[in-house]
Symmetry: C2
Subunit: 185 residues, 2 copies
DNA sequence: ATGACTGTACTGATCGTTCGGTATAATGTC
DNA sequence: GACATTATACCGAACGATCAGTACAGTCAT
Protein backbone atom coordinates (compact mmCIF):
# COMPACT_ATOMS: atom_id res chain seq x y z
CA UNK A 1 0.00 0.00 0.00
CA UNK A 2 2.21 2.79 1.28
CA UNK A 3 5.45 3.10 -0.66
CA UNK A 4 7.87 0.85 1.16
CA UNK A 5 11.19 2.34 2.14
CA UNK A 6 14.18 0.55 0.70
CA UNK A 7 15.34 -0.20 4.21
CA UNK A 8 12.10 -1.93 4.98
CA UNK A 9 12.84 -4.49 2.31
CA UNK A 10 15.98 -5.50 4.19
CA UNK A 11 13.94 -7.01 6.97
CA UNK A 12 11.39 -8.78 4.83
CA UNK A 13 13.21 -12.15 4.59
CA UNK A 14 13.46 -12.77 8.34
CA UNK A 15 9.91 -11.49 8.81
CA UNK A 16 8.63 -13.81 6.11
CA UNK A 17 10.39 -16.72 7.73
CA UNK A 18 8.79 -15.95 11.07
CA UNK A 19 5.24 -15.37 9.90
CA UNK A 20 5.09 -18.38 7.62
CA UNK A 21 6.38 -20.72 10.33
CA UNK A 22 4.60 -19.36 13.39
CA UNK A 23 1.59 -17.55 11.99
CA UNK A 24 0.44 -14.15 13.14
CA UNK A 25 -0.35 -15.08 16.73
CA UNK A 26 2.81 -17.08 17.21
CA UNK A 27 5.16 -14.24 16.30
CA UNK A 28 6.05 -11.89 19.15
CA UNK A 29 7.95 -8.66 18.90
CA UNK A 30 10.84 -10.14 20.86
CA UNK A 31 11.10 -12.96 18.31
CA UNK A 32 11.09 -10.34 15.57
CA UNK A 33 13.66 -8.26 17.38
CA UNK A 34 15.91 -11.27 17.74
CA UNK A 35 15.48 -12.39 14.13
CA UNK A 36 16.11 -8.96 12.63
CA UNK A 37 18.72 -7.80 15.12
CA UNK A 38 16.69 -4.62 15.57
CA UNK A 39 15.54 -3.17 18.86
CA UNK A 40 11.90 -2.53 19.46
CA UNK A 41 12.26 1.20 18.86
CA UNK A 42 13.89 0.58 15.51
CA UNK A 43 11.15 -1.83 14.53
CA UNK A 44 8.52 0.80 15.24
CA UNK A 45 10.57 3.34 13.36
CA UNK A 46 10.54 1.25 10.19
CA UNK A 47 7.09 -0.20 10.76
CA UNK A 48 5.01 2.44 12.56
CA UNK A 49 1.93 0.25 12.31
CA UNK A 50 3.50 -2.52 14.36
CA UNK A 51 3.01 -6.19 13.57
CA UNK A 52 0.23 -5.51 11.06
CA UNK A 53 2.49 -3.11 9.21
CA UNK A 54 5.16 -5.78 8.96
CA UNK A 55 2.72 -8.38 7.67
CA UNK A 56 1.41 -6.01 5.01
CA UNK A 57 4.95 -5.15 3.93
CA UNK A 58 5.87 -8.82 3.65
CA UNK A 59 2.62 -9.52 1.84
CA UNK A 60 3.32 -6.73 -0.66
CA UNK A 61 6.82 -8.03 -1.31
CA UNK A 62 5.45 -11.53 -1.68
CA UNK A 63 2.88 -10.21 -4.11
CA UNK A 64 5.56 -8.62 -6.27
CA UNK A 65 7.65 -11.78 -6.10
CA UNK A 66 4.71 -13.91 -7.13
CA UNK A 67 4.03 -11.67 -10.10
CA UNK A 68 7.62 -11.25 -11.21
CA UNK A 69 9.10 -14.64 -10.55
CA UNK A 70 6.25 -17.10 -10.87
CA UNK A 71 3.46 -15.61 -12.94
CA UNK A 72 5.40 -13.60 -15.49
CA UNK A 73 7.26 -16.81 -16.23
CA UNK A 74 3.98 -18.30 -17.35
CA UNK A 75 3.74 -15.72 -20.13
CA UNK A 76 7.15 -16.47 -21.59
CA UNK A 77 7.81 -18.71 -24.57
CA UNK A 78 7.50 -22.45 -24.80
CA UNK A 79 4.59 -24.86 -24.60
CA UNK A 80 2.10 -24.92 -21.75
CA UNK A 81 3.80 -27.92 -20.18
CA UNK A 82 7.22 -26.28 -20.26
CA UNK A 83 5.92 -23.03 -18.82
CA UNK A 84 4.08 -24.73 -16.00
CA UNK A 85 7.18 -26.77 -15.23
CA UNK A 86 9.23 -23.62 -14.98
CA UNK A 87 6.73 -22.08 -12.58
CA UNK A 88 6.79 -25.28 -10.56
CA UNK A 89 10.54 -25.05 -10.18
CA UNK A 90 10.37 -21.49 -8.92
CA UNK A 91 7.61 -22.41 -6.48
CA UNK A 92 9.46 -25.46 -5.27
CA UNK A 93 12.52 -23.40 -4.53
CA UNK A 94 10.52 -20.66 -2.82
CA UNK A 95 9.03 -23.17 -0.41
CA UNK A 96 12.43 -24.79 0.22
CA UNK A 97 11.17 -27.98 -1.44
CA UNK A 98 8.24 -28.16 0.91
CA UNK A 99 10.10 -27.62 4.14
CA UNK A 100 8.70 -24.15 4.70
CA UNK A 101 4.98 -23.36 4.96
CA UNK A 102 3.05 -20.92 2.82
CA UNK A 103 2.57 -17.58 4.53
CA UNK A 104 -0.80 -17.13 2.84
CA UNK A 105 -2.02 -20.32 4.48
CA UNK A 106 -0.44 -19.46 7.82
CA UNK A 107 -2.19 -16.11 7.90
CA UNK A 108 -5.58 -17.71 7.34
CA UNK A 109 -5.29 -19.34 10.76
CA UNK A 110 -5.62 -17.41 13.97
CA UNK A 111 -7.09 -14.14 15.01
CA UNK A 112 -5.63 -12.12 12.12
CA UNK A 113 -7.50 -14.04 9.42
CA UNK A 114 -10.08 -11.37 8.70
CA UNK A 115 -7.54 -8.57 8.50
CA UNK A 116 -5.48 -10.08 5.71
CA UNK A 117 -7.98 -12.28 3.91
CA UNK A 118 -8.70 -9.73 1.14
CA UNK A 119 -5.06 -9.46 0.08
CA UNK A 120 -4.56 -13.22 0.39
CA UNK A 121 -7.64 -13.85 -1.73
CA UNK A 122 -6.43 -11.38 -4.32
CA UNK A 123 -3.06 -13.11 -4.61
CA UNK A 124 -4.54 -16.58 -4.83
CA UNK A 125 -7.06 -15.44 -7.42
CA UNK A 126 -4.36 -13.87 -9.55
CA UNK A 127 -2.27 -17.00 -9.23
CA UNK A 128 -5.15 -19.19 -10.38
CA UNK A 129 -5.93 -16.76 -13.18
CA UNK A 130 -2.39 -16.97 -14.54
CA UNK A 131 -2.44 -20.75 -14.56
CA UNK A 132 -5.86 -20.85 -16.18
CA UNK A 133 -4.63 -18.44 -18.86
CA UNK A 134 -1.86 -20.84 -19.84
CA UNK A 135 -4.32 -23.70 -20.10
CA UNK A 136 -6.89 -21.83 -22.18
CA UNK A 137 -4.08 -20.58 -24.38
CA UNK A 138 -3.22 -24.24 -24.95
CA UNK A 139 -6.75 -24.89 -26.16
CA UNK A 140 -8.54 -25.83 -22.96
CA UNK A 141 -12.06 -24.57 -22.35
CA UNK A 142 -12.43 -21.67 -19.94
CA UNK A 143 -14.45 -23.45 -17.22
CA UNK A 144 -12.21 -26.52 -17.27
CA UNK A 145 -9.09 -24.36 -17.10
CA UNK A 146 -10.44 -22.56 -14.06
CA UNK A 147 -11.27 -25.85 -12.37
CA UNK A 148 -7.78 -27.15 -13.12
CA UNK A 149 -6.10 -24.02 -11.79
CA UNK A 150 -8.05 -24.45 -8.59
CA UNK A 151 -6.85 -28.04 -8.40
CA UNK A 152 -3.30 -26.77 -8.85
CA UNK A 153 -3.47 -24.48 -5.84
CA UNK A 154 -5.16 -27.22 -3.82
CA UNK A 155 -2.33 -29.60 -4.69
CA UNK A 156 0.35 -27.08 -3.79
CA UNK A 157 -1.21 -26.09 -0.48
CA UNK A 158 -2.09 -29.66 0.46
CA UNK A 159 1.35 -30.96 -0.42
CA UNK A 160 2.92 -28.24 1.72
CA UNK A 161 0.80 -29.26 4.69
CA UNK A 162 1.48 -32.96 4.25
CA UNK A 163 5.20 -32.59 3.55
CA UNK A 164 5.61 -30.53 6.68
CA UNK A 165 3.46 -32.74 8.85
CA UNK A 166 5.13 -35.95 7.70
CA UNK A 167 8.53 -34.29 7.67
CA UNK A 168 9.12 -35.58 4.15
CA UNK A 169 9.96 -33.06 1.47
CA UNK A 170 9.68 -35.77 -1.18
CA UNK A 171 5.91 -35.49 -0.87
CA UNK A 172 6.03 -31.90 -2.05
CA UNK A 173 8.67 -32.45 -4.72
CA UNK A 174 6.71 -35.37 -6.20
CA UNK A 175 3.51 -33.32 -6.25
CA UNK A 176 5.19 -30.40 -7.99
CA UNK A 177 6.81 -32.72 -10.49
CA UNK A 178 3.52 -34.32 -11.49
CA UNK A 179 1.58 -31.06 -11.48
CA UNK A 180 2.16 -29.84 -15.09
CA UNK A 181 1.01 -33.09 -16.71
CA UNK A 182 -1.82 -33.31 -14.19
CA UNK A 183 -3.05 -29.90 -15.33
CA UNK A 184 -2.70 -30.55 -19.08
CA UNK A 185 -4.21 -34.00 -18.84
CA UNK B 1 -2.73 -41.50 27.20
CA UNK B 2 -4.10 -41.19 30.70
CA UNK B 3 -7.67 -42.42 30.91
CA UNK B 4 -9.76 -39.32 30.31
CA UNK B 5 -12.41 -38.53 32.85
CA UNK B 6 -15.91 -38.47 31.45
CA UNK B 7 -16.14 -34.83 32.45
CA UNK B 8 -13.12 -33.99 30.37
CA UNK B 9 -14.94 -35.12 27.24
CA UNK B 10 -17.60 -32.49 27.90
CA UNK B 11 -15.15 -29.74 27.06
CA UNK B 12 -13.61 -31.34 24.00
CA UNK B 13 -15.99 -29.82 21.40
CA UNK B 14 -15.35 -26.17 22.33
CA UNK B 15 -11.64 -26.90 22.71
CA UNK B 16 -11.51 -28.52 19.29
CA UNK B 17 -13.26 -25.55 17.76
CA UNK B 18 -10.76 -23.16 19.31
CA UNK B 19 -7.57 -25.02 18.46
CA UNK B 20 -8.51 -25.79 14.87
CA UNK B 21 -9.44 -22.19 14.17
CA UNK B 22 -6.75 -20.32 16.08
CA UNK B 23 -3.92 -22.84 16.39
CA UNK B 24 -1.97 -23.47 19.56
CA UNK B 25 -0.46 -20.00 19.89
CA UNK B 26 -3.68 -18.21 19.07
CA UNK B 27 -5.70 -19.84 21.85
CA UNK B 28 -5.42 -18.13 25.21
CA UNK B 29 -6.66 -19.42 28.52
CA UNK B 30 -9.16 -16.59 28.72
CA UNK B 31 -10.58 -17.59 25.34
CA UNK B 32 -10.84 -21.15 26.59
CA UNK B 33 -12.43 -19.99 29.81
CA UNK B 34 -15.01 -18.02 27.87
CA UNK B 35 -15.73 -20.83 25.41
CA UNK B 36 -16.13 -23.51 28.05
CA UNK B 37 -17.79 -21.37 30.69
CA UNK B 38 -15.22 -22.61 33.18
CA UNK B 39 -13.00 -20.41 35.31
CA UNK B 40 -9.28 -20.62 34.67
CA UNK B 41 -8.72 -22.45 37.93
CA UNK B 42 -11.39 -25.00 37.05
CA UNK B 43 -9.68 -25.63 33.75
CA UNK B 44 -6.57 -26.66 35.65
CA UNK B 45 -8.65 -28.98 37.77
CA UNK B 46 -9.75 -30.97 34.71
CA UNK B 47 -6.54 -30.48 32.74
CA UNK B 48 -3.66 -30.36 35.25
CA UNK B 49 -1.16 -30.19 32.41
CA UNK B 50 -2.56 -26.90 31.15
CA UNK B 51 -2.93 -26.12 27.49
CA UNK B 52 -0.84 -29.08 26.38
CA UNK B 53 -3.07 -31.38 28.38
CA UNK B 54 -6.11 -29.99 26.61
CA UNK B 55 -4.56 -30.44 23.18
CA UNK B 56 -3.62 -34.04 23.94
CA UNK B 57 -7.13 -34.77 25.19
CA UNK B 58 -8.68 -33.30 22.06
CA UNK B 59 -6.17 -35.15 19.90
CA UNK B 60 -7.02 -38.45 21.60
CA UNK B 61 -10.73 -37.88 21.09
CA UNK B 62 -10.09 -36.93 17.48
CA UNK B 63 -8.04 -40.09 17.04
CA UNK B 64 -10.90 -42.23 18.30
CA UNK B 65 -13.36 -40.37 16.11
CA UNK B 66 -11.18 -40.86 13.05
CA UNK B 67 -10.92 -44.58 13.72
CA UNK B 68 -14.56 -45.16 14.59
CA UNK B 69 -16.35 -42.85 12.22
CA UNK B 70 -14.12 -42.53 9.19
CA UNK B 71 -11.74 -45.47 8.98
CA UNK B 72 -13.92 -48.30 10.26
CA UNK B 73 -16.39 -47.24 7.61
CA UNK B 74 -13.81 -48.14 5.01
CA UNK B 75 -13.88 -51.76 6.14
CA UNK B 76 -17.62 -52.18 5.76
CA UNK B 77 -19.36 -53.75 2.79
CA UNK B 78 -19.72 -52.37 -0.69
CA UNK B 79 -17.29 -51.59 -3.49
CA UNK B 80 -14.23 -49.43 -3.08
CA UNK B 81 -15.94 -46.47 -4.68
CA UNK B 82 -18.95 -46.71 -2.39
CA UNK B 83 -16.81 -47.08 0.71
CA UNK B 84 -14.62 -44.12 -0.17
CA UNK B 85 -17.70 -42.04 -0.87
CA UNK B 86 -19.07 -42.87 2.55
CA UNK B 87 -15.82 -41.83 4.19
CA UNK B 88 -15.89 -38.61 2.16
CA UNK B 89 -19.33 -37.80 3.47
CA UNK B 90 -18.25 -38.25 7.07
CA UNK B 91 -15.15 -36.14 6.50
CA UNK B 92 -17.10 -33.43 4.73
CA UNK B 93 -19.50 -33.18 7.63
CA UNK B 94 -16.70 -33.18 10.20
CA UNK B 95 -15.09 -30.19 8.53
CA UNK B 96 -18.43 -28.39 8.21
CA UNK B 97 -18.19 -28.68 4.43
CA UNK B 98 -14.82 -26.99 4.42
CA UNK B 99 -15.69 -24.07 6.63
CA UNK B 100 -13.65 -25.31 9.58
CA UNK B 101 -9.91 -26.01 9.42
CA UNK B 102 -8.21 -29.30 10.25
CA UNK B 103 -6.76 -29.30 13.74
CA UNK B 104 -3.90 -31.52 12.63
CA UNK B 105 -2.84 -28.91 10.12
CA UNK B 106 -3.37 -26.06 12.57
CA UNK B 107 -1.12 -27.71 15.13
CA UNK B 108 1.70 -28.08 12.62
CA UNK B 109 2.02 -24.30 12.54
CA UNK B 110 3.43 -22.34 15.43
CA UNK B 111 5.65 -23.05 18.36
CA UNK B 112 3.90 -26.24 19.43
CA UNK B 113 4.66 -28.13 16.23
CA UNK B 114 7.38 -30.36 17.64
CA UNK B 115 5.36 -31.31 20.69
CA UNK B 116 2.45 -32.81 18.80
CA UNK B 117 3.99 -33.86 15.51
CA UNK B 118 4.39 -37.54 16.51
CA UNK B 119 0.71 -37.98 17.27
CA UNK B 120 -0.31 -36.01 14.18
CA UNK B 121 1.97 -38.12 12.01
CA UNK B 122 0.56 -41.29 13.50
CA UNK B 123 -3.00 -40.26 12.73
CA UNK B 124 -2.21 -39.17 9.19
CA UNK B 125 -0.29 -42.39 8.55
CA UNK B 126 -3.15 -44.52 9.79
CA UNK B 127 -5.58 -42.53 7.68
CA UNK B 128 -3.48 -43.06 4.56
CA UNK B 129 -3.05 -46.73 5.41
CA UNK B 130 -6.81 -47.26 5.61
CA UNK B 131 -7.38 -45.64 2.24
CA UNK B 132 -4.55 -47.59 0.64
CA UNK B 133 -6.01 -50.80 2.04
CA UNK B 134 -9.29 -50.19 0.26
CA UNK B 135 -7.49 -49.55 -3.00
CA UNK B 136 -5.26 -52.63 -2.83
CA UNK B 137 -8.29 -54.67 -1.85
CA UNK B 138 -9.85 -53.43 -5.10
CA UNK B 139 -6.91 -54.80 -7.05
CA UNK B 140 -4.55 -51.85 -7.10
CA UNK B 141 -0.83 -52.43 -6.64
CA UNK B 142 0.60 -51.65 -3.24
CA UNK B 143 2.93 -48.77 -4.29
CA UNK B 144 0.29 -47.10 -6.43
CA UNK B 145 -2.28 -47.40 -3.67
CA UNK B 146 0.08 -45.71 -1.25
CA UNK B 147 0.75 -42.91 -3.70
CA UNK B 148 -2.97 -42.43 -4.25
CA UNK B 149 -3.72 -42.37 -0.53
CA UNK B 150 -1.11 -39.65 -0.16
CA UNK B 151 -2.80 -37.72 -2.95
CA UNK B 152 -6.09 -38.10 -1.11
CA UNK B 153 -4.78 -36.47 2.04
CA UNK B 154 -3.11 -33.75 -0.03
CA UNK B 155 -6.40 -33.03 -1.76
CA UNK B 156 -8.32 -32.90 1.52
CA UNK B 157 -5.84 -30.66 3.29
CA UNK B 158 -5.34 -28.42 0.27
CA UNK B 159 -9.05 -28.07 -0.35
CA UNK B 160 -9.55 -27.11 3.29
CA UNK B 161 -6.94 -24.38 2.99
CA UNK B 162 -8.31 -23.04 -0.28
CA UNK B 163 -11.97 -23.22 0.72
CA UNK B 164 -11.24 -21.29 3.87
CA UNK B 165 -8.99 -18.75 2.20
CA UNK B 166 -11.39 -18.10 -0.67
CA UNK B 167 -14.38 -18.30 1.67
CA UNK B 168 -16.05 -20.74 -0.70
CA UNK B 169 -17.12 -24.07 0.74
CA UNK B 170 -17.98 -25.29 -2.76
CA UNK B 171 -14.25 -25.76 -3.36
CA UNK B 172 -14.08 -28.34 -0.61
CA UNK B 173 -17.36 -30.03 -1.45
CA UNK B 174 -16.35 -30.39 -5.09
CA UNK B 175 -12.99 -31.86 -4.14
CA UNK B 176 -14.55 -34.37 -1.79
CA UNK B 177 -17.12 -35.34 -4.41
CA UNK B 178 -14.50 -36.05 -7.06
CA UNK B 179 -12.11 -37.78 -4.67
CA UNK B 180 -13.38 -41.39 -4.85
CA UNK B 181 -13.24 -41.60 -8.64
CA UNK B 182 -9.94 -39.74 -8.59
CA UNK B 183 -8.51 -42.44 -6.32
CA UNK B 184 -9.89 -45.41 -8.25
CA UNK B 185 -8.94 -43.97 -11.63
C1' DA C 1 23.37 21.01 12.57
C1' DT C 2 19.89 18.41 10.76
C1' DG C 3 17.44 14.22 10.13
C1' DA C 4 17.64 9.21 10.26
C1' DC C 5 18.24 5.80 13.31
C1' DT C 6 18.72 3.20 17.81
C1' DG C 7 19.18 1.78 23.05
C1' DT C 8 17.11 2.24 27.49
C1' DA C 9 13.49 2.57 30.27
C1' DC C 10 8.93 2.47 30.85
C1' DT C 11 3.65 1.76 30.39
C1' DG C 12 -0.73 -0.93 30.96
C1' DA C 13 -2.49 -5.16 29.42
C1' DT C 14 -2.49 -9.97 28.94
C1' DC C 15 -0.10 -14.27 29.11
C1' DG C 16 -0.09 -19.22 31.47
C1' DT C 17 -0.21 -20.80 35.96
C1' DT C 18 -0.93 -21.32 41.00
C1' DC C 19 -2.97 -20.42 45.61
C1' DG C 20 -6.50 -20.27 48.91
C1' DG C 21 -10.96 -21.20 49.60
C1' DT C 22 -16.17 -22.54 48.93
C1' DA C 23 -20.18 -25.36 47.77
C1' DT C 24 -22.02 -29.91 47.09
C1' DA C 25 -22.42 -34.66 47.28
C1' DA C 26 -20.77 -39.08 48.44
C1' DT C 27 -18.72 -42.08 52.02
C1' DG C 28 -17.57 -43.93 56.39
C1' DT C 29 -18.33 -44.22 61.55
C1' DC C 30 -20.85 -44.50 65.49
C1' DG D 1 -30.20 -41.32 61.72
C1' DA D 2 -26.44 -37.88 63.05
C1' DC D 3 -21.95 -36.41 62.23
C1' DA D 4 -17.22 -36.12 60.68
C1' DT D 5 -14.41 -37.00 56.59
C1' DT D 6 -13.23 -37.09 51.90
C1' DA D 7 -13.56 -36.21 46.97
C1' DT D 8 -15.12 -33.51 43.24
C1' DA D 9 -16.08 -29.29 40.97
C1' DC D 10 -15.72 -24.78 40.83
C1' DC D 11 -14.21 -19.77 41.54
C1' DG D 12 -11.67 -15.02 42.56
C1' DA D 13 -7.42 -13.17 43.17
C1' DA D 14 -2.90 -12.93 42.42
C1' DC D 15 1.73 -14.61 40.77
C1' DG D 16 5.89 -13.57 37.71
C1' DA D 17 6.66 -13.26 32.95
C1' DT D 18 5.87 -11.49 28.63
C1' DC D 19 3.00 -8.97 25.53
C1' DA D 20 2.51 -4.71 22.15
C1' DG D 21 3.53 -0.13 22.18
C1' DT D 22 5.62 4.70 23.69
C1' DA D 23 8.81 8.43 25.36
C1' DC D 24 13.05 10.25 25.15
C1' DA D 25 17.78 11.00 25.02
C1' DG D 26 21.48 9.80 22.61
C1' DT D 27 24.35 8.46 18.28
C1' DC D 28 25.46 8.55 13.64
C1' DA D 29 26.22 10.04 8.92
C1' DT D 30 25.84 13.78 5.90
Amino acid sequence: MAKPTAAKQTYVPPLLDLFRQYGYDGVSLSKISQATGLGKASLYHHFPGGKDDMVITVLDTLDQWLQATALDTLESDGGALARLTRMGDRICEAYSHGQKPCMLASLMLGSAKDDFQPQVQSMLRRWMGAIAAVLTQAGMSEPLAQERSEEALIAIQGALIMARAMDDSAIFERTMEHLPQQLCR
